[in-house]
Subunit: 578 residues, 2 copies
């Protein structure tokens, strides 16, 4: 169908998912602490987000028309629902989060489309099992073994029949016997009854028994087989679209796409692996080339030009100089989105906007070339620094998850782990550390937080000062992680890769001092550009800014009933994915 | 509004709920084992069903018009959704079960009505907390303390401002300062700024700052207070309807209503208590008089006349002699349901049908009186035997939960607990016990089941036979319960009331032999009737029939991928509630 040829001909693809919820954890700050390690973040998202349903999947295919110098776009907006395939198929349970549902409702989301007409799906294991079962059933029937669709009255096994049903059943048996006996008299050929369970649209089931001769019986069984195969393909459903994307090997662009990637793999391929490294490997099998526009836009040379990287703000910014809106055209017969009339949070529209943003940013890089180029292909070397790095939301000093190698390991020797009475608010922490200049607070829960000091040498002073304090307690980050690791060893959770030494000295952060990290450079190809270098050096910018650009309060705090909020213009948790 | 006066004037009420799912347990038979004790069943339903959402509540009020000899009916169909009241209110997560959602979708259920326009609710604790918070906020504001709506620029606390926002913020501060300074010059009176957070329909938030004089400020704050109170009442929302039903003390009729009662209390009053006895007490506070038409129709004198007690079948049966369809009329301006055009599984329609069934059965009891009476009031003594007994689905020997006293405790000395390899099917168990005549199998999981023999004296023979068996193991029910209790003591789950002795000899079952139970009699008032006794004596009927009448396979078995199903006409698990 249309979607497969659209994928085939495309130069790149853009995707977006809408979910029935974001986090079933106690609060968002517990889910996304500013000092999470990538392993911790992955484990939290896996634990607290995968029970939600990805129920709308937006896919836009972008094909560059060289002659017209514009992209031809085809957008698809798939509603997804795990409709049970048959009574033996898994009965999926998924969680809905009121705030997310309410938010989508306020954006005009059509829930009836999801639940009444949603496309089903099976992951690879389920598909295998269902196909196996169908095979088995066929073999059994061929051998005349158990659960045949063709039975003789004598095969009735022992079954307890409730008193009040006996009447009905004996009447049915009589009728069937009648059919059978009657026909034996009339026909000399082998002859039997065809039994079929039929379900009406209203889900009422009944058994249809018809007398058939041998040819008719074979014809019906062939028919049934074909119908079964067709139903099975339908059941695999949306997973086939994902398989096609995967097989194409094409660049897949998303905005803040970590959760989209996780949900896609979880729903349409396999349960997510325990280990982050295994997840990266699976992801790279499914999507060999990913690009996250949120990460791209918060990396140089875009970072200085784009203060807020939420999808809506990014799109607005990229309409202005020095950026140029790309020339695009919607293919005949496909939904035409208008960026002036924002339809944000429809997955198809968000995917569309994401694709446009990517094109604008890619083309902007062309302006640095000598001579400048107006169109930069998604296959250009200029894109390479941005490939396979997924934005990490609200982690102060690790901007992305590196899908094809080890992650950045910033030193955290200026970070303190502080515990305190549950009445404390962010302002109490500012008060406590007022002597040390600017601090950053990352709430863990009601009674603990990470506090980042601006100077490493202040750590010892703070530790000394706290020695005789009664209301609060301070540990260095290294001490805290050591304690956690010891606890974890008991629970055998894998987090070995973040050994204590890793935080002090690691291959990627070697040579880095204080706050920043130097590993974060797009790398060699950038050096070949003219005009000025576009290598970002976030160490110069002060850490943590990338995280504050999406409307989140940088001093993250527990949600819920607490009064810890300092500001009123925060964004509700369900905006996490944009 | 209309619903409160309808409740006020009614003679009785009928209710029905639709849920986003039934069971998140591994399978239905694990949830509803035929040998559950009432305590076990309650604990299972509480654990595996309360995370679903009751999202449609049907209420029909029935008022008898003596002159016209007919009931006037008002039906309400409430869509319920826990829309977050404000950013501090609980963000409810609920589970959806695909099969249930798919089933409701196929019946034309309107999910957009639920999620876009559903009525919110708060339970009593939430309501209390929200009202308290509002109170606190008001007091603080009155004292000029924290989070005031009226601030002076000097109260700005320490807050970390991300680099890229500093520009914007200083511009805003300038503007606000300007407003402030400017006004001080012009007005001699006390004067300030009014600050308000405003949220648009699209959930975008901004802060509105206006300069106001003292009177205007007071007016605005009064306005805000009133708006808050109104919003708070709206937030309590549907719970107020349930409070009204509760306060009316009127008879509430439902069909197979245990889950409806549990969900109603759980959502609109308080989390369900751990203990069954406590649940009964809470229920009787909320609904002082309940009647379950499924239990009524499976009790004499109805039991012999009504073979299938699912709501749809019951309704069809009660249209035929000896029953009479009641004379009813829908009140002006209320939805008119037509029983010929079945709209089953809309909660309002199901409540309507339930009410009609109740009237038919009640009036039928009048035919036994001398002289016969055509109309029996819901307040009639004749109803008393059916009050406050909730149907227990698929328990072989305990037909109902007795809400106002101890439950029936049948002897289970003919019951064996059997463990076996997971390949075994029901037919293997029939085979194994083929020497003992008819048996009843209640599957627990893949490798264990209860087997009820028809004669108690066979138990010893079976035990002896099994002694040297290798593939399976047999325990008596008493031994099994003793083992469970010992495990439970460790886990400190309360199930003391079902001590071993209880099963052998208990107040309610004293004098009963073998299979049956004698405690199950409507009691004294029935004796005053003419013609013939309508006392049921289920002991004569053979146990377990009540459970087989709803399309369930009596030899219950694990669902899922197994091949253990013997029949194909079962009803999907989501029909549990009808």
């Amino acid at each position: 169908i249309a979607v497969y040829s659209a994928i085939d001909e495309a130069d790149f693809l853009a995707i977006d998912g809408e979910f029935s919820g974001i986090s079933d954890g106690p609060n968002v700050s517990a889910l996304t602490n500013g000092m999470d390690t990538p392993e911790e973040r992955y484990a939290k998202l896996k634990k607290h987000s995968m029970d939600f349903l990805l129920f709308q999947f937006g896919l836009c295919t972008f094909k560059y028309d060289t002659e017209a110098s514009k992209y031809i776009i085809k957008c698809f907006n798939f509603y997804i629902f795990p409709k049970p395939f048959n009574r033996a198929s898994p009965d999926i349970k998924f969680i809905c989060q009121s705030s997310s549902i309410d938010f989508l409702a306020s954006q005009g989301f059509d829930f009836n489309k999801v639940f009444r007409h949603g496309i089903p799906y099976l992951n690879q294991e389920e598909e295998g099992r269902v196909r196996e079962q169908a095979e088995e059933r066929r073999n059994q029937q061929a051998n005349g073994a158990a659960t045949p669709s063709y039975i003789s009255p004598s095969s009735k096994g022992p079954a307890h029949v409730p008193e009040e049903h006996k009447d009905f059943i004996s009447r049915v048996i009589e009728k069937v016997d009648g059919l059978f006996t009657n026909s034996e008299k009339t026909y000399p050929t082998f002859f039997g009854l065809h039994v079929e369970t039929i379900e009406t649209e209203k889900k009422e089931r009944y058994i249809q028994i018809s007398k058939v001769d041998d040819d008719e019986r074979k014809r019906r069984e062939q028919q049934k087989l074909e119908k079964e195969q067709e139903e099975l393909n339908d059941a695999v459903g949306f997973s086939r679209v994902i398989h096609a994307i995967s097989k194409s090997g094409k660049l897949v662009v998303g905005h803040n796409m970590l959760l989209d990637v996780m949900h896609t793999i979880h729903q349409f391929y396999c349960p997510l692996p325990q280990d982050l490294q295994d997840f990266k490997e699976v992801s790279m099998c499914v999507f060999p080339r990913l690009l996250d526009t949120k990460l791209m836009s918060s990396t140089q040379p875009f970072k200085d030009l784009i203060p807020i990287t939420s999808l809506a703000e990014l799109e607005r910014r990229l309409k202005l100089a020095p950026f140029k809106s790309p020339k695009v055209e919607t293919a005949e017969g496909f939904p035409r989105y208008d960026t002036a009339q924002e339809q944000l949070h429809e997955a198809g529209y968000d995917a569309y906007i994401t694709g446009l943003c990517f094109i604008s940013m890619a083309n902007y890089l062309g302006s640095f070339l000598t001579p400048p180029k107006a169109h930069i292909s998604p296959r250009s070397k200029l894109m390479e620094p941005f490939f396979n790095k997924l934005f990490l939301m609200r982690i102060i000093d690790i901007p992305y998850l590196n899908m094809t190698g080890p992650d950045l390991r910033p030193k955290r020797d200026h970070v303190l782990y502080v515990t305190f009475p549950k009445e404390w608010k962010t302002s109490d922490l500012y008060q406590l550390f007022s002597a040390f200049g600017n601090i950053q607070v990352s709430w863990i829960d009601d009674t603990s937080a990470f506090v980042s000091l601006s100077q490493t040498d202040q750590v010892q002073i703070a530790m000394n000062t706290s020695r005789y304090a009664e209301s609060y307690r301070i540990q260095t980050y290294a001490e805290y992680m050591k304690g956690r690791r010891q606890n974890k060893d008991v629970n055998s959770q894998p987090d070995q890769s973040w050994g204590e030494e890793g935080w002090v000295k690691s291959p990627t952060t070697a040579g880095t001092t204080g706050y920043g990290y130097k590993g974060y450079r797009p790398g060699a190809p950038m050096g070949t550009l003219g005009k000025r270098s576009i290598s970002p050096n976030q160490a110069d910018q002060g850490a943590g800014e990338a995280q504050a650009t999406d409307g989140w309060n940088q001093s993250s705090h527990p949600d819920g009933m607490g009064n810890k909020k300092l500001k009123t213009d925060g964004v509700p948790p369900f905006l996490y994915s944009t």
